[in-house]
């Protein structure tokens, strides 16, 4: 030091910088592992929730994106490296009936049911599930382990070269903007204060909302979440603006002017476009924050159930919300949507479970008998359909001179009719009890009673009385309005009675919509579909009285098929009745199954 002080100091500086640089390399490696861990969690969640980690890619895109390849490699390594864990409820893939890969099971959030009891809210005070913490730590160890080094290096390279379709903004500050057409991160321009920038832009969104400048809000919202992809409230409120406030002043688009958009799997007008924009915004949020129940809840309840009246998708996302740590109302909305799709058994089982967790809960106490009554009504309708079929066969037998067989068929039909009556009586008794035992009466039970009574009157030929009852009922129970209105139209047509102006208008609109459909075939996922006015059904080209499997929103098969092949959502989104082929098997989808008919 005394002889060569400059040399010694230069060496010391070099050592200091080298040690710092080496530590910087270690920190960078940790950050890359952190990004890789997030991607593993996101990709696993996407596989579980959406059925696939990437959209169905074709041609050059399929070759470019490496998500599936990389994820498969990580899954294979995880099978070798991660300790075994038991297969639990929710770990089974509905599409295949087999457990998810170990990595997917590890990253699934473990729920211990609602994390709050009725009347409480706020997630901040709730501790994470200890087993979940253990599993996360295990995956985090795995993500930065030497055994996964090649995959991690490929991940970093693919991310840099924009070859990961699933790598959203959650990956990291610098990496976010590599997805954009900018060579460097705009996040760096904020010197690390991008979250503040996001917050300040969000205040602008709020101001624009107050001024009614909706057109300014959307780009500002997108910029906000680009700067801060973990700003979950921005996704929630942004989607609410899109689905509710933006559409509040919009007129409804008549059905015949709506356009079928395969990407959405639905016929859309202006309002629906905004609803799907909200859904996509929330899905982006899920991609970036795969473990926040609020995003799944808003997607399922606020958008799909409330706005799009698509309870099948609502069930999908609300189910996922209940798998995360969630508030107690999430489960209640799931059971309502299960009921709306006709899955009464599942809904009742859910309400029973809910009542066990929240003893004396008034809604659960009401919904258990409601679903029981709905099951009886459904079974009664099925028996009625069977009886009608037997009566038709009996009439045919009688016409063919087979009196004995006709009499036997009529006897069988009579038996079914008696069973039907018994079921309906049981349902009626449940609804009557519900209505009587609820302080201000149970609107839903009352509406069902009126409906059953109107249908009976109509069957007895007393259609005018049935119509009077329904017209009064729809005014008294607002949620029964549309169902009652449709029943009125059907009864009037069957009894050849005149319709009033609004009913004629409604009918005309539906007819015009169907005529428009009939005139123009639709191409969906490379298949042509034609609408048959006579059968009120969409047929895939090539269909000619093949044997079909019947699917309704309530069937478990449909849930499995949808998860396995998301393209089915595009087919069944065409209409209430659709015939389509999949892997050599023909399916017949009926949205309005039992309760749409009288």
């Amino acid at each position: 030091m005394k002889r060569f002080p400059n040399l010694v100091l230069a060496i010391l500086v070099a050592i200091g910088l080298a040690l710092g640089a080496l530590q910087g390399y270690r920190v960078r490696n940790l950050r890359e592992a952190d990004a890789f861990y997030r991607w593993l969690v996101t990709a696993s969640t996407q596989l579980r929730v959406f059925g696939s980690i990437t959209p169905e890619l074709e041609g050059e895109e399929a070759e470019k994106y490496m998500d599936r390849d990389l994820f498969d490699r990580a899954v294979a390594k995880a099978d070798e490296v991660l300790p075994d864990i038991p297969v639990m409820d929710g770990d089974i893939d509905d599409a295949t009936g087999t457990p998810y890969p170990k990595l997917v099971r590890y990253t699934r959030t473990l729920s211990t049911g609602s994390h709050t009891v009725e009347g409480e809210s706020g997630s901040a005070a709730v501790a994470a599930n200890p087993e979940q913490v253990k599993r996360d730590a295990e995956v985090w160890r795995f993500a930065r382990s030497a055994s996964l080094a090649p995959e991690r290096a490929d991940f970093t390279r693919f991310l840099r070269d924009k070859r990961l379709a699933t790598a959203g903004a959650q990956i990291g500050v610098a990496d976010i903007y590599r997805n954009q057409e900018t060579p460097v991160s705009i996040g760096q321009m904020f010197l690390g204060f991008r979250k503040l920038a996001a917050g300040l832009i969000w205040i602008e969104v709020d101001e624009a909302f107050h001024k009614g400048e909706m057109q300014r809000m959307v780009p500002l919202m997108r910029t906000t979440v680009l700067l801060d992809p973990n700003f979950v409230d921005a996704y929630l409120i942004g989607a609410w603006h899109l689905a509710y406030n933006l559409t509040a002043q919009m007129p409804d688009t008549p059905g015949y002017l709506k356009e079928y958009v395969p990407e959405f799997g639905a016929w859309v007008g202006n309002k629906e476009r905004a609803y799907f924009a909200a859904a996509n915004f929330l899905k982006d949020g899920i991609r970036n924050n795969p473990r926040d129940y609020r995003l799944y809840f808003d997607l399922g309840y606020a958008v799909y159930a409330e706005k799009l009246n698509d309870h099948m998708n609502a069930v999908t996302y609300l189910t996922e919300a209940t798998k995360q740590r969630h508030e107690s109302w999430v489960r209640r909305m799931l059971y309502h949507s299960l009921q709306a799709t006709g899955q009464f058994e599942e809904a009742r089982a859910g309400w029973e479970d809910y009542l066990r967790a929240n003893p004396g809960h008034p809604v659960a106490q009401r919904m258990i008998p409601t679903n029981t009554a709905l099951m009886k009504e459904r079974d009664a309708e099925a028996l009625d359909a069977q009886a009608q079929k037997l009566l038709t066969q009996a009439a045919q037998a009688r016409a063919d001179g087979q009196e004995a067989q006709a009499a036997q068929l009529e006897r069988q039909a009579g038996e079914l009719e008696k069973q039907r009556e018994a079921l309906l009586d049981e349902a009626r008794a449940i609804y009557t009890d519900l209505n009587a035992n609820t302080a201000e009466g149970d609107e839903f039970a009352q509406a069902r009673l009126w409906r059953m009574q109107a249908i009976e009157l109509h069957k007895q030929g007393r259609t005018l009385e049935a119509l009077a009852l329904l017209r009064q009922a729809r005014m008294e129970v607002s949620r029964f309005f549309h169902e009652a209105s449709d029943l009125i139209i059907r009864m009037c047509i069957e009894a050849d009675l005149p319709l009033n102006l609004s009913e004629r208008k409604r009918l005309l609109e539906v007819e015009r919509m169907k005529e428009a459909w009939a005139e123009k075939p639709v191409e969906v996922a490379g298949r042509r579909f034609d609408f048959s006015l006579a059968e009120d059904t969409w047929h895939q080209a090539g269909y000619a009285d093949q044997e079909t499997i019947t699917l309704t929103p309530a069937t478990r098969d449909l849930a499995a098929l949808r998860k396995n092949r998301p393209v089915i959502d595009q087919f069944i989104g065409l209409g209430d009745n659709v015939v389509f082929e999949l892997d050599g098997q023909w399916y017949e989808f009926h949205k309005q199954n039992l309760f749409g008919n009288i």
Binding site: A21, R28, T109, A125, W140, F193, I203, L236
Partner: protein, 299 residues
């Protein structure tokens, strides 16, 4: 090799030993009287008090900024106001904290040269590296006290909105300090070569800004990789050296991430101590440069 460097437990232990040795040396060699004197001098500086008052205003002002935001009134409660308070406060702490760190690091040595106090001090039986160490430690005490004060105020502002102990805030403040430590050390090195506080102050701001932009160099490296031009390759090589040698202050953006910790975030128990070590090692390099410059200074 690369994965060995990145996650070898022996290397981690070696780093632990080095950091402990540095801290022990600092504790042993620091003339605490100089450090305390520097701290007391620093407290008297009006500029620092001004920055502190401004940061306090911003921290409490953040509560009013969110007060007029629209209440969604929907079924899902939102935490936008809490998030905004966190972001505004941590930004205020970062900006005013780094300004305090830069101004104090830039001025302690040049002011003593200007006042000629340094001649009196160095005439005592004290070595130059110790004098510098005392000054540097004094600066760090000032930075730490200011940071803690702002942190306490931030906690109060946050607690008023959300009555939960802000544990993550402690980690965020802890990380912020090590970011300041790097900026402060290199500013101190420039100040050691200077006779006035103006140049080191400008240099400190430059260090802070460039430290946040070193990731730009990575895109230069990436683009040079696909180029056939020799000049581009050379430029890419230079960018690679700089990228891997200069401190990257963006690493400390983890502080904003842990403040709004999401359930899908990774455990941060490894990243935080690694960043602390990163800060200490670059601070050591900065201090050695400062001494290298200062030991040849004619005083």
């Amino acid at each position: 090799m690369s994965i060995w460097l990145a996650s070898n437990p022996w290397l981690t232990s070696l780093y632990g030993v080095i950091v402990l040795a540095i801290l022990a040396s600092v504790a042993y060699f620091t003339p605490w009287s100089i450090a305390l004197f520097t701290f007391r001098e620093g407290l008297r500086k009006k500029t620092l008090i001004g920055f502190l008052i401004l940061s306090i205003l911003v921290i409490f002002g953040s509560m009013f900024m969110t007060a007029m935001m629209y209440d969604t009134g929907g079924t899902v409660a939102t935490d936008v106001d809490v998030k905004l308070i966190k972001d505004i406060c941590i930004t205020a702490i970062s900006i005013f904290g780094v300004l305090i760190a830069i101004f104090i690091s830039a001025s302690v040595v040049p002011t003593e040269i200007e006042n000629k106090v340094v001649y009196t001090v160095l005439s005592k039986p004290i070595r130059r590296f110790q004098y510098l160490l005392g000054k540097f430690v004094g600066v760090q005490i000032i930075v730490l006290v200011n940071l803690l004060l702002m942190g306490v105020l931030f906690s109060i502002a946050l607690y008023v909105k959300e009555p939960i102990f802000p544990r993550m805030l402690l980690y965020a403040i802890f990380l912020t300090y090590f970011e300041f430590l790097i900026v402060s050390a290199f500013t101190f090195a420039v100040a050691a070569a200077s006779t006035s506080a103006v140049l080191p102050t400008i240099a400190g701001l430059f260090i802070y800004i460039t430290g946040n932009l070193t990731q730009y160099l990575e895109s230069v490296v990436n683009r040079s990789e696909v180029s056939e031009n020799a000049a581009d390759k050379a430029l890419g090589g230079l960018a690679w050296v700089l990228r891997n040698t200069l401190p990257d202050l963006q690493y400390f953006s983890l502080k904003t991430q842990i403040l709004g910790l999401q359930i899908n975030d990774t455990p941060k128990d490894i990243q935080i101590p690694n960043l602390a070590v990163y800060g200490i090692l670059y601070a050591l390099a900065g201090y050695i440069i400062a001494y290298w410059v200062f030991r040849r200074k004619e005083l």
